[in-house]
Amino acid sequence: MSKKGFSIASLSHKYIMAAAGAFLMLFLVMHLATNLLLLAGDGGGTFAESVDFLLTSRLIKIMEYVLFGAFILHILLGVVIEIHNRRSRPVGYHVKPKSGTSAFSKFMFHSGIIIFIFLLLHLYHFFLVKLGFFPVYGDATEVHDFFPMVVYVFQSPWMVAIYIVSFIVLGFHLKHAFQSAFQSFGLNHDKYMPAIKTVGTIYAIAITIGFSVIPLYFYFIY
């Protein structure tokens, strides 16, 4: 038995996975904060201003590369770890394991795949249009006229449904991810772990509801 191509330690995988994940969790907060401006009710004026600000900020430009790096690291490591873990038990059990764990933690890889597919769709809707790979649509005239594109995308009940289901899956992923990141960094202590778990649950619910409000608003109210 040998490492078979794993030159960095198992624990180092965990730190990198957790660090990338923690950065992505912070990004989600920023992303949600900006997106909620879509609901300002001024035809996307405030939202467009914030987009302009983000587009001109050099710091944001750098963070965009960091963000892509974090996504790629997190996804690739997730796949590498999953393959390694499956190989660690070549013969499975006859009886389905009944050990007490939360479903959130058991299906991180599966929820991750769903989020990845959603990410591709989401990039196709907005980011790749901004980069000029796809033509602008809806009432948009420029590549970063996101507000009319949002209005257009969420006219379709299918898109609304796909986005909301993805946000729920994302919430499940985050519910485990939040406290798991602390555990991986070695921050698990009876003093503060209960608080971390509570904050993690609130965070996961807030992200799911916060993002879900946007498609619902554009489909039913706008």
Binding site: S2, S10, L11, K14, H84, R87, R89, H94, S99, N188
Partner: protein
């Protein structure tokens, strides 16, 4: 009590195993799980069959030898209980009991339900000890240790190395075992001196033996017969991180 038994039979590491179905009648509810298997083996031998091989030694929950995957859980349905301390009264009369060996790439099957746990031994040999110059016995209390710390080190030291954590983990990760061993030494003054070197060596050996990566599902804590907490995994992660960042090359 009467039971239907579904037991994994495998001649040796090289051959393919399969499940065999048996019926066993007149089992006393007071029998321990291993006594039930002894009783069953006696019957098999009388009938001219091969007895089912399983590992056991102390039969009082402290040696870590016995370890069977019973009805989907290592050491059976009770928490904080080893297979030898499990009694037949915990099972429903007339039910089917499925008995499997630990499943992990790092625990190859030797025969039937016996697996080779040398990989744990290898991890211990890599750093699970304290180097001390022997001599005359020291006076008690020459090295003061905070009661809370010594209690906590003891909580880690109660690990019997049975391998239930690996068997329970969906990734067959040995993180709980290794972290208990790393932590029990790291917390005490005698073990602190070599703490950084120890965690690096033990984690490297753990990876080398083919265990999976911990993904914080905490199945290990749930099924550990000694109730070892996953807080020790966090402690190992801290120890490893500080060792990687702070320790010297030479």
């Amino acid at each position: 009590m009467n039971f239907k038994l579904k037991i994994w039979r495998q001649k040796n590491a090289a051959t393919k195993g399969k499940f065999e179905d048996y019926t066993l009648n007149d089992v006393s509810p007071e029998m321990s799980f291993l006594q039930m298997l002894d009783y069953f083996n006696d019957k098999l031998i009388t009938e001219g069959g091969q007895p089912v091989h399983f590992e056991h030694d102390c039969r009082e929950g402290i040696c870590g030898s016995c370890g069977l995957y019973i009805n989907g859980r290592p050491h059976g349905p009770l928490r904080n209980t080893t297979t030898c301390e499990l009694h037949m009264r915990e099972f429903e009369d007339g039910s089917t009991i499925v008995i499997e060996p630990w499943r992990s790439r790092a625990f190859p099957i030797i025969k039937d339900l016996v697996v080779d746990r040398s990989s744990f031994e290898e991890v211990m040999l890599a750093g699970g000890f304290v180097n001390i110059n022997t001599g005359g016995a020291l006076d008690a209390n020459t090295t003061p240790i905070n009661k809370k710390i010594s209690d906590r080190a003891f909580d880690a030291a109660v690990c019997i190395g049975c391998g239930a954590c690996v068997a329970a983990c969906k990734n067959s990760s040995a993180a709980l075992f290794v972290s208990a061993k790393v932590s029990q030494f790291a917390m005490l003054p005698q073990g602190k001196t070599e703490a950084a070197e120890r965690v690096e060596k033990m984690v490297a050996k753990m990876d080398d033996m083919g265990f999976g990566f911990c993904s914080n599902t905490y199945a290990c804590e749930f099924d550990c017969p000694k109730g070892i907490s996953v807080e020790f995994i966090a402690q190992m992660n801290r120890e490893f991180f500080s060792a990687k960042v702070c320790s010297h090359k030479k």
